[in-house]
Subunit: 299 residues, 2 copies
């Protein structure tokens, strides 16, 4: 069975759902929705109970926001801090998203030498052979990765066939410390990272490539230049809402087509009830829908 | 109780054990020691059985090599690919190492914006508050991290008080693609990363800092320059053995003292029996001891 390329699957999903919104999931056990409160009781270690609560919270959040979204972006750190049970909760959350017709972009920002990158590829989007049978850990459709270690370290990630979103210019203030360093050949380091993304990706039927780029939404002045350097890359655009980025500024990302930009929002959706006074689920759905309309209007 | 700084704890441990060797743990479920074979049978999912076998293998390896080592360096990817049970196995392996008097350097190469870096810090070397109680996931003494996202992304990692080893110049061939890029100010990117390590670390009583550097042992010509730029950093030196690096070439790393270099070896220790014909445990112990003597002779 020929597998449909990641980029083509995203392009179809975006067109069908008329959404470029990724629901970010970065659950903090002290700030979950009320629906998760009961799960902290009952049997098990603190990690097991907290992980159960996190899974309930994320499931409720996915059910609320799914109609306005095309995928989820779980932040792996937030599950890993609950150990083995947290990892188990992440697996449940991924299954919930898949059941809701959403794709899963694991925000992992991994990067390691080739032999280890192969193991990360197996963990995130592949499987590993064992004498007890094949093991699939996360089964994500895509993930974020760090390009600092160079091309040979990225090849095993790309070979998965999953979407691989390389960090090019992130949304934090400190991003300037390294990514904006001026190179002897001219231009900042992040432009060289952008070229790597372009070199490593092959345009699929939809015109977009399976190798994408993380370009922070907090620095819109970079977007036009980033698009010039990466005409075929899907941009993952974090930094909307809590970090100060505005959907309205993202138009250059969408120049190649509606699926060329994915807008990730987490705290602004999960915490929308603090602003608008509705229950968390209704508020999350309304905020996700508001973002969906804003982004869709740009395409 | 005042906590003893990471660098001072390493300096004491190195002096006491007369070893700078880190036992690398990157278990492949298809190539475990025979002692682990039975664990693949019995109850549970393939992931649970494989994780049990990995834990048995790592425990045997730690018991065999511990006398010649000062710490372990588990490769997180290799546990994560077995999902929640793999993460649980890693927790067991860390406890085994601590019981054997070894410190734990989690090879994670994490790097993310500050809010997420805080969650990684909690996962790797801290704990997270939950309504069900405080949860400690790994409880490592140190970990590796990726500096691409800049200083504000590193601060939450360093604030843990754990040892933080930043990637400066890795041991893979592709490291040249990005880390060797020439900067407009002169010198390659990795030298700027080295300066960051030096700026972020404060020398402790022993003269070394809690912020260390990953400098591949496969490019010994970089070591002297790296030491010049980072006079107080502990160097984590991967790439010995399977990747082609030689302990004999590492002298510049140890210039500030015996604890200024940590030599990581994994496949060459776990797979020593393929070369020397003894049983795996005896061969691993002999190889770890051989490396220990070679490194100790440099100091």
């Amino acid at each position: 069975m020929a597998q449909i390329a990641f980029a083509d699957r995203v392009a179809s999903a975006v067109a069908e759902r008329e959404s470029q919104i990724l629901l970010g999931l970065d659950p903090d056990p002290l700030h979950l929705w009320d629906v998760a409160a009961d799960a902290f009781g009952g049997d098990g270690s603190p990690a097991e109970r907290a992980a159960r609560a996190v899974a309930v919270h994320c499931r409720a959040l996915i059910e609320a926001a799914a109609p306005a979204c095309v995928g989820i972006k779980p932040q792996l750190a937030c599950f890993e801090r609950l150990g083995g049970p947290g990892y188990g909760a992440l697996v449940e959350v991924i299954a919930t998203a898949h059941d809701a017709g959403l794709f899963v972009l694991a925000d992992a920002k991994r990067g390691d030498v080739a032999v280890t990158a192969t193991a990360y590829a197996q963990a995130l989007a592949g499987s590993v052979a064992t004498p007890a049978g094949e093991v699939t850990a996360l089964g994500a459709d895509a993930f974020t990765a760090n390009p600092l270690l160079g091309i040979d370290a990225l090849e095993p990630l790309i070979a998965t066939g999953a979407g691989v979103f390389l960090l090019v210019r992130t949304s934090n203030p400190g991003a300037a410390d390294v990514m904006d360093l001026e190179l002897a050949r001219g231009g900042p380091l992040w432009e060289r990272l952008a070229e790597l993304v372009d070199e490593l990706g092959t345009p699929r039927e939809c015109g977009l490539a399976d190798v994408g780029a993380v370009v922070g939404a907090t620095e819109p002045e970079h977007l036009a230049r980033a698009r010039e350097l990466m005409p075929h890359a899907i941009f993952l655009l974090p930094g909307i809402g809590a970090q100060g980025g505005r959907v309205e500024d993202l138009a250059p990302a969408f120049a190649p087509g509606p699926a060329a930009g994915l807008v990730a929002a987490s705290r602004s959706i999960a915490g929308a009830h603090a602003q608008n006074g509705h229950g968390p689920a209704a508020a999350a759905r309304a905020e996700a829908e508001r973002l969906r309309e804003l982004a869709w209007a740009l395409t």
